[in-house]
């Protein structure tokens, strides 16, 4: 049994090596073969034929972060819902009520965010 697992790891390892070596080999070979004559025009950033006119990094609106923060919090709370859902049949009515209280707390948080005008796209 252990042997089979070791063998499959061996295959993974071989593929990993090929995956790393192939691009490295191809790029090194290309570097050796191609001529190396840099000039000003060649080194400018290529942007589909247009002249690049400002920084390639674009700053996102800070409002996205607000939504992202809210999402992170509410998304992670579902972590507690999964174990409950899996064991729902065993836990019964009482856990359901507990979970409702938990969700109610989350809703309170949402109302808080709403009243504080976080959800509006001003």
């Amino acid at each position: 049994m252990g042997n089979v697992y070791a063998n499959s790891y061996l295959i993974v390892f071989v593929f990993l090596c090929i995956g790393v070596l192939l691009p490295v080999g191809a790029l090194t070979l290309g570097k050796l073969l191609r001529p190396h004559v840099p000039s000003e025009a060649k080194q400018t950033t290529y942007e589909s034929g247009n002249n690049p006119f400002h920084d390639s990094r674009v700053q996102f609106q800070v409002r996205y972060y607000m939504f992202a923060l809210l999402f992170v919090i509410f998304d992670v709370e579902t972590v507690f819902l999964y174990p409950w859902a899996v064991a729902y049949n065993k836990l019964g009515l009482f856990a359901l009520i507990e979970m409702l209280i938990f969700v109610l707390m989350l809703v309170l948080g949402l109302i808080y965010a709403w009243k504080k005008k976080v959800l509006q796209w001003m």
Partner: protein, 502 residues
Amino acid sequence: MSMHTLLQYKWSMMTPEFIVLITALILSLADLWMPNDKNRRPLAWIAVVGVVIALIATAGLIPAKPVSILYDTFRIDSFSKAFKLLVLAGGALCLLLALDYRPKEGLSHRGEFYYLLLCALLGAMIMASSGDLITLFVGLELLSVSSYILAGIRKTSAQSNESALKYVISGGIATAITLFGMSYIFGLTGTTNLKEMAFEVQKLADSNYQYLLALAFLLLLVGLSFKISSVPFHMWAPDVYQGAPTPVTAFLSVVSKTAGFVILLRLFITIFAAAPAHGKDPSSLLLSMQNYIAVLAGLTMIIGNTVALRQRSMKRLFAYSSIAHAGYLLVGFAAMSWVMIDSIWFYLLAYVLMNVGAFAIIQRLSDEADSDDMIHFAGLYQRNPLLAVSMGIFLLSLAGIPGTAGFIGKLNIFLGALMTEPGHYMLAAVMIATTVVSYVYYFGVFVQIFFRPADEAASVKLPVGLTVTVVLCAFGTLLFGIFPSLAYQVLAQFEHFGDFLQ
């Protein structure tokens, strides 16, 4: 779990927690539905009343037998009751400071300010009485996360923002280190219940396990040193203390530190005192690690007291002084005498009184000038003699001059360090030496207050919340300094915390 088992628990044991929780909920809802232009300051009075009721409820629980409810995750023993009293008293005093907090640009989130303080307080209370790693951790984080926000509550002040960010980053690193240590202890014992852990840990005699356990111990010590602001995790304190609003600074230096010692004592005494040590000599892992704690205590005292010498900013000065006080408290822990918890409790009581009192006066003088430079203390005696005398009392107590609570606290810890066998003479000597060094900077402030001419002649008026705080703190500092037996009588009810491990 069914309804029946749930109702069997003695929920009355959680009364103080419920009171604080409900007050926080009421405040948050009230704040949400209050019109925007309405003044939020009355909310602070509700918060103060809630905390005082919780304090009375805790005092009412003192005669109760030790119990643990909710599958041993929440326990009420004399340790938790004693430290909950301290935390609640400190929290109430900080709320009084927050009531009269008036930064220059105004405080747009006054409502949040109060109920976040309550949430942080709730976290500290849960820490004081949890019997399980998970609840301990959740309490710790409730305290930490609320404090992060509190430090940055002045949203438009760059200093406050910076203080919050530094606090989050160093706090996050410390939390991760603490948790990493916790994960090893959990792995070795297979349980998160502290009592079962203490039982399981006794079986770990193998040297491999010993090694892992010692690693976990060191990780926990480093991680928790953040909360008590001792070496090696003390560097956040000056920056955060200086940038945070003054009531929050007081809260961090008093309640947060008390909570830090609570978790330190709870974890280390329950788990590591039971763990066998590898060497032949010491009887437990905790005792074998005694030297490391002693070195950290010494370093904390030396660094805190010497760097404080060159501070001009009052809040930075008090930050280093608070590091130094963490060092004194660690001496009490490192000595591990049988009066350890008693002496730490008394010291923290004195520390709550003298430090919050001092911060009340700092707040008054730095709000006015929007700077906390020592120069604003110049000539305080001419501007308000009573205030100057109270500040004098707090400074004398912080320095540990006889007649004040700070002296009795230091004396207890000092005697504790000498009464063990063998005595910790080195540590006691460092403590004396650094105390003498600390006189220099405390008396520097003293000189400013009493012997320097005032810049402005206008007398200093104190708003009501600050007046109550200063009067209570000054009274308490003198009372416990002259009649320490009053505090010992309270301590006597806890019977040297004998039910700690039951």
